[in-house]
């Protein structure tokens, strides 16, 4: 189901929701500043506590958003993890599209010009 035929787009549906549950649950916990600190203090222990799959654990280790999405991560929860890593949504966009942040921002500007 997860591929709905939209290029470059993963729909977070039941297939992805099942796959990503552990990762998303961990990310949801980051609403609590104590949990964010605990993650930063011992990433391994924190990920183990939430029973991340090996794929999810690697994606988090790599701070790689496309890998996290492939592992079932939902962007609304992942954004909280990105916050811990100090990445904003332009940084995330640049990383996912393989652009520099400046080029990604220019692309956004460009969308207003046509």
């Amino acid at each position: 189901m997860a591929d709905h035929g939209i290029p470059g787009t993963t729909i977070f549906d039941g297939v992805m929701a099942r796959k990503g549950y552990a990762l998303n649950k961990m990310c949801y916990s980051f609403n609590d500043p104590g949990n964010r600190a605990a993650f930063l203090k011992d990433e391994d222990a924190y990920c183990a506590k939430y029973h991340l799959t090996a794929e999810q654990r690697e994606a988090v280790r790599h701070k790689n958003v496309l890998e996290m999405i492939a592992a079932g991560g939902n962007v609304y929860y992942l954004a909280k993890l990105a916050g811990i890593f100090g990445l904003n949504v332009q940084d995330l966009g640049a990383q996912q599209t393989g652009m520099t942040v400046e080029a990604f921002k220019a692309k956004l500007q460009e969308a207003g010009r046509n």
Partner: protein, 285 residues
């Protein structure tokens, strides 16, 4: 009797809250966006709402995937903002109107909407940023939050969301208190944060949406949720909140004001202010 005196659609991205916190309203990047709200606030002074119903989407603050409602309606005397994890200042609690909430809930369940009722509810940037933009002095009237799932598919269709709004519009019209109600839909317009298509924006579709939200909302109901994602981006589906808002306007509707600007953060930002002419006419008569 209560009446809907207007409708309003607005962006809600966290970066706006951040810009407000930092006082960047006159910054060249932000000015074209914030200036749009000068006119919206003047309009609010004219229509004088006593209460607000706000359609928005929770971004993982109050709801998690263990219990993810399609539609959730707040029924609390007060709604607290909270830490979302990325450094926005936590704002003061917002006033609710529980009696009005329960009236809406009675109407919705009577109309076969299977809502989740929330006597406690944390509200995130999608709820508080629009209040900051419209009532920067913090003097917003009581608000009833209606959270529409945009996180986990299947989402309610555009057709269902329009019906949701209509049911709430009817419930407002049947409320026994004299009350001037503003309905707000937050989020959008086109944007996509995730995936190889991140940064996707579709000005042409946004223009179509603004036109149809104003004059012909039925023109949007044949789109599927997948269509909206394709045309508007994964987070562009926040359009569902605007569609529900429009559904609550039961009288004749006309555009009072619109501001559209690309980009704010990763989004095409938009502000659309709608007069509800039937209500205006009733007041004039």
């Amino acid at each position: 009797m209560a009446e809907v005196v207007g409708g309003l659609g607005t962006s809600h991205v966290p970066a706006i809250g951040n810009a407000i916190a930092k006082g960047l309203q006159q910054d060249p990047y932000w000015k074209p966006f914030f200036d749009g709200f000068i006119e919206a606030r003047a309009w609010l002074k004219r229509i004088k709402p006593d209460a607000v119903v706000m359609f928005y989407n929770d971004h993982g603050l109050n709801f998690f995937l263990d219990k993810m409602p399609t539609f959730a309606v707040g029924a609390a005397p007060q709604y607290n903002n909270a830490d979302e994890g990325w450094g926005l200042p936590v704002l003061r609690p917002c006033r609710g109107d529980a009696e009005f909430s329960w009236h809406l809930i009675e109407g919705l369940v009577g109309d076969e909407f299977d809502v989740t009722t929330c006597q406690e509810m944390l509200v995130d940037h999608a709820f508080v940023v629009p209040l900051q933009l419209l009532w920067p002095e913090g003097d917003a009237p009581p608000v009833v939050p209606v959270a529409v799932n945009t996180v986990q598919h299947p989402l309610a269709s555009p057709a269902r969301c329009l019906k949701l709004g209509r049911s709430i519009g009817r419930a407002i019209a049947s409320y026994k208190k004299d009350m001037r109600v503003l309905v707000i839909g937050t989020g959008g317009l086109s944007h996509q944060l995730d995936g190889a298509r991140a940064g996707f924006i579709n000005k042409e579709f946004d223009m179509e949406c603004i036109d149809k939200i104003t004059a012909n909302p039925e023109g949007l109901i044949n789109y599927t949720v997948d269509d909206i994602v394709r045309l508007s981006g994964t987070q562009g589906v926040e359009l569902l909140n605007w569609i529900a808002m429009r559904g609550a306007l039961l009288g004749r509707v006309s555009k009072a004001f619109c501001n559209y600007h690309i980009p704010i953060s990763n989004t095409a930002s938009a502000l659309l202010v709608l007069d509800n002419e039937a209500a205006e006419a009733r007041r004039a008569a």
